[in-house]
């Protein structure tokens, strides 16, 4: 009797595992199935590298892909040095106590909803950028990237800090024994040993920037042109989905957002594989 119950529980657990595991596949399946009418018959090329002008029957998502990549790269470029500086402050350079407080604050930052970043972006950052760029709406690649760089920095700071803490204490003691200063410890001991952690944190933060919807939707301006400079308005893939969703179900325009979904899905998969690649080589070398 007991054995039957044991097996039943195990089966139930296995079932829920299969159900939750299949969600990942079902989502991709749905995207593929819905985008299929667009991808057949040589049109696939048109979708991924064409421009967006529904009036002429062209539903290319290239401008949005470029927009997404531009905003994400720029935000990571801004955020990365800042995050390295902050996590060095927490881990090595700053006074111990202020480091602890800073870490608390950064942990709290992970709880700030993305819609708040967008909201504050509209009423605080956009007017500032409008002033700087002298003219225009102030909604541009740089506006979104600046706000996003604040949004993704907790990811990097906390992750870098974790990998700093994993540097063996004996290494630090050895450096201390040789009379190293704090900066020398950071540059010659901590950073080289935390290199892989830093790369992984960087990739993850990039993934967060790619997947963000609200900041790009609210303050990047949403024009469907390929942005020529950082002060140009741009539309991210995520924002594109949110904006086109109201179209007629049967239209090609509506189907094209599933191509956006697929691109975003593939980006996410590439990020996970990238992280795993570094995480696993990390384990081997240790």
């Amino acid at each position: 009797m007991r054995a039957v119950k044991e097996t039943a529980v195990e089966r139930a657990l296995l079932l829920s595992t299969i159900v939750s595991g299949s969600i990942t596949l079902i989502i991709f399946g749905f995207m593929l199935f819905m985008a299929l009418p667009l991808l057949g018959g040589g049109k696939i090329f048109q979708i991924f590298v064409g421009s967006w002008s529904p009036g002429d029957g062209s539903y290319g998502i290239l401008p949005m892909t470029v927009g997404t990549l531009a905003i994400s790269f720029l935000s990571v470029t801004i955020s990365f040095p800042m995050s390295i500086g902050c996590s060095s402050f927490i881990g090595v350079l700053g006074p111990k106590r202020s480091g602890r407080y800073l870490k608390r604050i950064v942990q709290m930052m992970t709880g700030i909803p993305t819609v708040i970043y967008g909201f504050v972006g509209i009423f605080l950052l956009v007017p500032i950028v409008r002033g700087l760029a002298s003219g225009g709406s102030g909604m541009s690649v740089i506006t979104a990237a600046l706000m996003l760089s604040v949004l993704i920095s907790p990811t990097m700071v906390l992750f870098f800090n974790d990998s700093f803490e994993r540097v063996p204490a004996s290494y630090l003691d050895a450096a201390d024994g040789l009379g190293a200063s704090n900066v020398q410890k950071l540059v010659y001991v901590v950073l080289p040993n935390a290199k892989k952690g830093i790369i992984i944190g960087l990739i993850l933060a990039f993934g967060r920037a790619l997947g963000d919807t609200l900041v790009a939707l609210m303050i990047a301006g949403n024009s469907t042109q390929i942005p020529g400079s950082v002060f140009d308005s741009a539309r991210a893939l995520t924002a594109h989905i949110a904006l086109v969703i109201a179209a007629d179900y049967e239209s090609l325009e509506f189907k094209s957002i599933f191509a956006c979904g697929m691109v975003l899905y593939l980006f996410a998969t590439a990020i996970v594989i990238g992280v795993r690649y570094f995480a696993f080589t990390d384990r081997e070398t240790r």
Binding site: G21, I23, M31
Partner: protein, 293 residues
């Protein structure tokens, strides 16, 4: 290393810290400076009496009450879907699965955790269209669809926190009950799960916070600007984060914008408390917390 360079590096690190703190405090400070005057019971209940609103006797028209109620109902429903499945999956992966099965499913859940929330929202929307066409005309984007999509979104957190909490238990804790003749299942339910409760709780709190703050999923799956208190599972509803988004682009009067600031402060306070609590319960949470797109 030369001293000026050392000074430069230290200075850089202080500068970064000041910049980040400056950014955070200007974001939160801006909200409070603009919105604190709106923080009173009128913000939530409008002109309706508090008791009448809470007992659902009268509808609240010009307050945040329907949005807050919508968010609460949504969070409770999503978490109710996600918790049993998530924890069961975590238990299976930690205690039953072989190495290869575990590796495969971990890859799946990492991908699921990395999928942008708007894509999950898009899936929810397409799913509701599919159901509308093939199952029942009554189904359209609604509370039920949103809560299921949100459950998909937070499932990876629950699975991962449960799995990590169980994996982290020391070997002697595992063996004690088994040595006394307990079965594997008894060991899991009477010893291992109670021991890893704090880890699992931190995952549940994270999931709640994530459901409360998410906007991208719900804006595709049934949230609307005015709906009142959600009447049924198949009705559309209001939610705080969507209200903030909506006000930011559609406000007509300064008073309306002011309620947007008020709503932002409420949502911010709610989420910051939840996430801090999760970090407080479980120190090494970074790995779970950063997956948020």
């Amino acid at each position: 290393m030369k001293r000026p360079i050392e000074k430069l590096v230290t200075g850089f690190s202080w500068l970064c810290t000041i910049m980040l703190l400056g950014a955070v405090f200007s974001i939160t400070g801006f909200l409070f400076a603009k919105g604190y005057s709106s923080l009173d019971t009128r913000l939530i209940f409008g002109d309706t009496g508090i008791l009448d609103a809470l007992l659902l006797k009268k509808q609240v028209f010009n307050g945040l009450f329907p949005a807050i109620a919508g968010t609460l109902v949504l969070v409770v429903m999503s978490v109710a879907w996600a918790i049993p499945v998530g924890i069961a999956t975590g238990i299976y992966l930690a205690e039953y699965a072989g190495d290869r099965v575990r590796g495969l499913f971990n890859l799946f859940f990492d991908i699921l955790a990395g999928i942008p929330s708007i894509v999950i929202g898009l899936f929810g929307f397409a799913f509701s269209v599919f159901l509308h066409k093939n199952v029942s005309k009554a189904i359209q984007p609604c509370l039920l669809i949103s809560s299921i999509a949100l459950a998909f979104l937070v499932l990876p957190y629950l699975i991962r926190t449960t799995q990590v909490a169980l994996d982290g238990l020391p070997e002697d804790t595992r063996l004690g009950a088994l040595a006394l003749g307990a079965t594997k299942m008894q060991n899991i339910f009477y010893v291992l799960l109670p021991k890893s409760l704090s880890g699992i709780m931190s995952g549940v709190i994270l999931a709640i916070g994530r459901c409360a703050e998410d906007t991208a999923v719900i804006m595709l799956t049934g949230v609307v600007a005015t709906a009142g208190i959600p009447g049924s599972l198949l009705s559309s509803y209001e939610a705080l984060p969507f209200y903030i988004y909506y006000i930011s682009s559609q406000y007509t009067t300064p008073e309306e914008l002011l309620t947007g600031y008020g709503a932002s402060i409420i949502l911010l306070a709610m989420c910051v408390v939840l996430f801090s609590a999760a970090f407080f319960i479980k120190k090494r949470l970074t790995y779970m917390a950063f997956y948020r797109a």
